[in-house]
Symmetry: none
Subunit: 241 residues, 2 copies
């Protein structure tokens, strides 16, 4: 038995219907404000039950692409996705990567400033533990970058602003894959670079520990800006193009 592969699970019908409707709306086939065909008609057109159409519509409503009113019908939203922020799953273009990272620098810098004011004892201890872990671990090992991520996550949480926390988690998840790729493209980390990272982290933590918000923000920005350059993305405020 050669060339076995993982079976492709049959996609849910509602997913497929939602996908096609979304594409139709985004392509302009249904103009903003226009009325969509009725659920009954869509069900017949897609050859599915009305319930499948309703589940697909439910998703479009949650994405604010359509708006339904009982007795009237479903209408394409005037401003699709105005209250929804979503990034492309894999920003391959370097410029996008740069811009997203720049946004992260701004937000995480501010988060560090807040953390300097608000971090409690246990959060400080958690940061300290991460620093120690990174120092003893062999540079470039898995647990090394894992502790790195935890250090940043702890600061985000210590900002005591769940929106900072959530947004940074969101950005981090979107950047993760691209960063890993950029890392492998870049020359292997020099020992000097590892030392620099450690020094930057400690500068951030020192400022937080002594409750110096502006210094913490500045240190975090320096750290992330340096990280951008290490990844070959240019500095925070770059005179790009």
């Amino acid at each position: 038995m050669t060339s076995i592969t993982s079976v492709t699970r049959a996609p849910r019908l509602s997913d497929e219907v939602a996908r096609q409707l979304t594409a139709a709306i985004r392509s302009g086939e249904f103009a903003p404000g226009a009325r969509l065909p009725s659920e009954k008609e869509l069900a017949e057109r897609f050859e599915v039950s009305r319930m499948v159409v309703r589940e697909a519509m439910s998703r479009l409503k949650s994405d604010e692409l359509v708006d339904t009113r009982q007795g009237l019908g479903a209408f394409v939203s005037a401003e699709p996705g105005k209250s929804l922020f979503r990034l492309e799953p894999d920003p391959a273009i370097v410029k996008d990567l740069h811009d997203i990272f720049q946004l992260r620098v701004a937000v995480e810098g501010a988060a560090a400033g807040l953390a300097a004011v608000r971090a409690n004892r246990s959060e400080l201890a958690a940061m300290r533990a991460c620093l120690r872990e990174m120092k003893v671990s062999v540079a470039g090992r898995e647990d090394d970058i894992e502790a790195d991520n935890r250090f940043h996550a702890t600061i985000a949480r210590a900002s005591r602003n769940p929106y900072f926390d959530r947004f940074l988690t969101f950005l981090g998840a979107n950047l993760h894959g691209a960063i890993a790729k950029a890392r492998s493209n870049t020359a292997a980390r020099h020992p000097s670079s590892v030392l620099a990272v450690q020094a930057e982290h400690e500068a951030v933590f020192a400022a937080i520990e002594r409750r110096d918000a502006p210094a913490a923000e500045a240190a975090m920005r320096r750290h992330l800006s340096a990280a951008m350059e290490r990844l070959g993305l240019g500095p925070f405020t770059g005179a790009r193009s």
Copy 2:
């Protein structure tokens, strides 16, 4: 017929179920990876039909909060909200409003800093026009706050980072209603407050015009922080609770 008010349309049941489930997941009541109660059980608990639960689940799936598998059940995603960032449509709680506004302060401050470096001549002219318009318009008029919004939007665009622009537009759309409400609750704007706003705007613009990024960022933060206080939301770095 006295004291007429806009009728409150009965909310859809699936919206309410989705809201409660989302809150339960975000609050950690259902840990990541945990299995949710079955649709049948949820339907009984919420006292709705199973179909309503399914529509709510469909929304959570599209938000990547849960993942369902036929025959097994629905499970909380390991990393909720990985490729999607959304806010509750109407943050009524003051603390949420404060936290979201704080995020805006951080991002828009950085955007002003970038704009100081990157704004071109036409963008500077647009900002200047907004300032002039706000000065001559009667304080508190519609066109006044409209020019205000345009001033901020121009700065966001001048940052030349579409993600800053998009994210600030997104936050603005989410804060708009709440701000309007907070405004009406607060005592009517004093003329002195109007003058203060104008002075803050001009400080921001002056720093951008002379290409002083740190000053532009600081001025924007001062402006937005003052705006938060005018709306009764407390300062940027507040020792809340």
